[in-house]
């Protein structure tokens, strides 16, 4: 993912580091026991270690929510922003510093409600980064309000007689956005799959959107209970270009063969079904990346002054 040395001054430094995994761990999280965020955090820390990412060249950006506490627990640079706006901040970081590895971590409210506009456009910009949406189908931090992904009929504090609307399908939405580059779904109760998905997302050159079905024992203990308990209810998309995790494929026997370059089939698979489908829905590494298309040569101050003088000439009296 990091293909450019940021500066000559950093040339002597090996961009890959050999650090124990603990070195990626920040202060311990205070999510509820059993919260799915714990597992995702552990998988992410393992990824950073395995991919030998230099902590100082890695940035985790988040919005606001339980899930958005993520950056505080990882020892890289982080920006815990404001509700719904992780993606614009991450966009700014990556545009300014294409040499940094950038991750954006969002909740379902963050991404699909208040930040929905940014979600659409971030997919379209297609900057090289990983976007994690920790989807617990509820507003966790603010204590149990309906989110766009809350199942219809599921009661919350704001809609005590059940959510009025059918749940938004984030996969279908993302797959419908022009320039979609990488769309995957995984589930916190299949840790090996979470890891393999994050790895595929990280290695993908482009905007990698990963929806992580995340259990919230506090407010939505029921929504993922069945698939988390009965393996047969979790379907694995398999393909050599997809998320490949042999162990998971061994335990989870319901497989769907799916070529991630097949967008139509991906859209079909993304439709609601009685099973939870995890795996790589779509991948297209050919789309231009915004930080590349917008990249411009760097100039020295003297150079700019020369050019500026030419601008003044154009405006000279």
């Amino acid at each position: 993912m990091i293909d450019t040395a940021c500066s000559l001054l950093g040339c002597g430094i090996d961009p890959h580091v050999e650090l124990p995994q603990e070195d990626y761990e920040g202060p311990p999280p205070r999510w509820c026991p059993g919260c799915g965020d714990h597992g995702v955090l552990a998988a992410t820390q393992r990824l950073l270690h395995d991919e030998r990412l230099a902590p100082e060249r890695t940035v985790f950006v988040s919005g606001i929510g339980c899930s958005s506490r993520f950056p505080h627990h990882i020892r890289t640079y982080g920006f815990h922003g404001i509700h719904g706006r992780a993606l614009p901040i991450a966009t700014g970081v990556k545009l300014m510093r294409p040499d940094l590895a950038v991750f954006a971590v969002m909740g379902d409210g963050d991404c699909t409600s208040i930040g929905a506009g940014h979600w659409v456009h971030a997919v379209r910009y297609n900057l090289d980064m990983v976007a994690l949406m920790l989807d617990n189908n509820i507003y966790g931090l603010t204590k149990n309000q309906t989110s766009p992904t809350t199942p219809q009929g599921h009661p919350s504090n704001t809609q005590p007689r059940g959510s009025w609307l059918p749940a938004l399908n984030p996969l279908s939405v993302t797959l419908g956005i022009t320039n979609a580059s990488f769309v995957a779904q995984t589930a916190d109760w299949v840790p090996g799959h979470v890891y393999a998905t994050l790895q595929a997302a990280f290695r993908h050159p482009g905007f990698a959107f990963v929806r992580i079905l995340q259990r919230c024992p506090k407010w939505t203990p029921g929504v993922f209970r069945a698939p988390a308990q009965q393996m047969a209810l979790t379907e694995i998309l398999v393909h050599e270009d997809g998320v490949v995790e042999p162990e998971v494929e061994q335990y989870y026997k319901t497989h769907v063969a799916h070529d991630p370059s097949d967008l139509d089939h991906a859209r079909h698979l993304a439709e609601e079904s009685d099973k939870v489908r995890i795996g790589l829905f779509y991948k297209n590494a050919a789309n231009a990346r915004y930080e590349e298309t917008r990249r411009v040569p760097v100039h020295t101050a003297e150079d700019k002054i020369r050019l500026l003088e030419a601008e003044f000439d154009r405006h000279a009296v």
Binding site: R57, G81, P88, G92, R97
Partner: protein
């Protein structure tokens, strides 16, 4: 009413209303205002801007401002379609758009009517009016013509009919593209402009067009000049001032864009909004050549977010907007303040609230900028007063943002954004520019908010610096950026962020007072009104009134020494383009009166009984209007 003078005179005389122009003979004036108005699309703007530029090249002070129709494609021959330029030229530097125009070229009587209704024309203005509408075969047009002339006859205007289209058609087939150059020729003759320079300028202007087009435009210019020579018996001379050294001419938004470049900033994130957008038009054209990019975000929130993210990761970035966009950026500005992420925000103010007056000037975002964030969000606020300062303040803004890890808001407005004036060519310095973060490791134990207990300042850690890893957060945090709600931590954080402003203020100098150091009335202004205020005060002093003025460029922190200055005057009054109640209006008392925004601020900060005189007419203040306001404070004459 001052009359025309035979030679340019000293400062006391300059800046008067336009002199009465005799229709015979040559008159010399120290300054003069004219307008060119047409239907949208007929090119009056090009003609007027060309005339302004030509005058600047010939050594005159000049200020041009666009007359913008309210719609993109307004129906032709309606007052709403008036499009054009007002040009004020002078022997001295011209700092504002003046009062009423002494001469106007109008391409039809309807657009002329709109200027009349807006009181844009001097009572005795000379009007050069396209004559063909009065000879129209269309009875409806004739009726409109008659009605318009009837309405115009309420003032002693002197109307001269000009065969604009008829003459133009002798050179080109489509008068839509040509009348303006004929008109420019007419103006060149009247104002004794150098035709060679005008030709040169046309060729440059039409550089990308075919030779035929270039030649046709030059011929039209010549035709206009010779027609005027034969048919008009008057000429106006506004002699050039002393040699001024190299000058450049541009509008305030271009100046902001160039200033941003000169400051070394490399990322402008924005969302289109009038009147700020043209900064991004300019930068969109040239910025990449300088290693910069304009990111048009999906909305203003995202634009602010991208700028904050970019600044967090490297050189200071900036965002450009106007009122409604500023409102949307609010939460991000708070985040930038809280995380001490440097950021430059340019707010090109327009009339508000809400969508308000999209193309028109107002200075009504000051308090929103200062206090628009929930919680305490101290930031630096600068207000350039001239187009030249629009350029230079960007360098200061960038530097302050970086050095103080602060949000710096630059408040310009539609008047500066669209006004065009020459100013001394800047001599850019390498030191103006941001340098790149060097990725140096952070020393053991370094903290991302290691506030200097005295100044509140701390060193920023930028991604890439080994050992500096921290998570910036909008939540209450301690020096390590660890989130905590412990009572003293918030108190400390707020103190440190606020202290930075006081520390900055300790390095500021008091503003200058223009005019005597003490007296009866001190007029206090900020932003684009400087030229008009100083001109008005100068005229008031010429009338024997004891008036001085001072102009504030730092609005947060305020420049020091203000109370001492104010105490030397019997009364202090702000002059601003924002709303204030007028005492005497129904229900309005001195106790419930809502004040102009700077007045609010000064009263709150300094405990001085600052009065205010404000107007929200959607146009720049006219010096004469301010003068009337000043006279009224002295009990002399009625306020406008």
């Amino acid at each position: 009413m001052p009359t025309h003078v035979s030679a340019p005179t000293g400062p006391a005389e300059a800046g008067h209303d336009t002199g009465r122009i005799p229709l015979h003979g040559l008159v010399e004036l120290a300054e003069h205002t004219l307008e060119v108005v047409s239907d949208a699309g007929e090119g009056a703007q090009k003609c007027g801007q060309g005339f302004g530029a030509l005058s600047a090249r010939m050594g005159n002070g000049s200020w041009t401002v666009e007359i913008i129709p309210a719609e993109i494609q307004p129906p032709p021959r309606t007052p709403g379609s008036a499009s054009g330029v007002r040009i004020r030229i002078g022997t001295r530097e011209v700092t504002n758009w003046g009062d009423a125009a002494g001469l106007v070229i109008a391409f039809n009587e309807q657009v002329l009517l709109s200027r009349h209704r807006l009181d844009a024309l001097a009572d005795d203005a000379v009007i050069l009016l396209e004559k063909r509408w009065g000879e129209s075969d269309d009875p409806a047009v004739l009726a409109e013509w008659k009605a318009a002339l009837e309405e115009l006859s309420s003032k002693p205007y002197r109307i001269v009919l000009v065969p604009l289209e008829e003459q133009t058609l002798t050179v080109v087939d489509n008068p839509l593209h040509g009348k303006n150059m004929f008109a420019l020729g007419v103006l060149c003759r009247i104002y004794d402009r150098d035709l060679d320079r005008a030709r040169e300028q046309i060729l440059r202007q039409f550089k990308k067009k075919s030779r035929d087009v270039q030649q046709a435009n030059v011929r039209l210019l010549e035709l206009g000049a010779s027609w005027a020579k034969e048919n008009l018996d008057f000429q106006i001379r506004v002699p050039p001032g002393p040699e001024k050294g190299p000058m450049v001419v541009m509008n305030g938004n271009e100046a902001v864009g160039m200033g941003a470049i000169a400051s070394g900033m490399e990322l402008c994130a924005m969302y289109p909004i009038t009147p700020a957008t043209s900064v991004s038009h300019y930068l969109g054209d040239v910025f990449e050549r300088f290693g910069g990019i304009v990111h048009q975000a999906e909305d203003e929130i995202a634009a602010a977010g991208v700028a904050v993210g970019a600044s967090f990761a490297g050189k200071v970035a900036f965002t450009v907007t106007s009122g409604p966009g500023l409102a949307l950026k609010t939460e991000f500005l708070g985040l930038a303040v809280m995380t001490e992420t440097p950021l430059v925000v340019v707010d090109v103010q327009r009339g508000g609230p809400s969508t308000g007056l999209p193309t028109k000037v107002e200075q009504a975002d000051l308090l929103a900028v200062l206090f628009g964030q929930p919680g305490d969000a101290p930031k630096v606020v600068l207000a350039p007063a001239t187009i030249e300062e629009c350029f230079h303040c960007m360098i200061t803004a960038r530097r302050l943002a970086e050095a103080l890890r602060a949000v710096v808001v630059v408040l310009t407005d539609a008047n500066l954004a669209t006004g065009v004036t020459p100013f001394p060519r800047p001599v850019p310095q390498p030191d103006w520019q941001a340098t790149a973060p060097d990725g140096a490791p952070v020393a053991q134990g370094g903290k991302p908010y290691q506030w200097d207990p005295e100044t509140g300042l701390s060193t920023r850690f930028v991604p890439g610096q080994p050992g500096g890893m921290f998570t910036a957060t909008g939540l209450c945090h301690d020096e390590k950026s660890a989130v905590t709600y412990a009572p003293h931590v918030h108190q400390k954080g707020c103190t440190m962020r606020s202290r930075k402003l006081a520390a900055l203020q300790s390095t500021l100098q008091p503003p200058d007072v223009v005019g005597p150091d003490s007296g009866d009335l001190l007029v206090v202004g900020w932003g684009s009104t400087k030229g008009a205020i100083e001109e008005a005060c100068e005229r008031a002093r010429a009338e024997g009134l004891s008036v001085s003025s001072t102009h504030l460029t730092f609005l947060s922190p305020l420049q020091p020494g203000l109370r001492a200055i104010f105490e030397r005057f019997r009364r202090v009054m702000t002059v601003e383009i924002n709303y204030s109640d007028r005492v005497g209006d129904p229900f309005i008392t001195s106790e419930n009166r809502r004040m102009g925004q700077l007045a609010w601020l000064l009263r709150a900060q300094l405990l001085v009984d600052v009065d205010c005189w404000t107007r929200v007419m959607g146009e720049p203040l006219r010096p004469g209007q301010i003068l009337a306001g000043i006279r009224a404070k002295f009990g002399k004459g009625a306020d406008s």
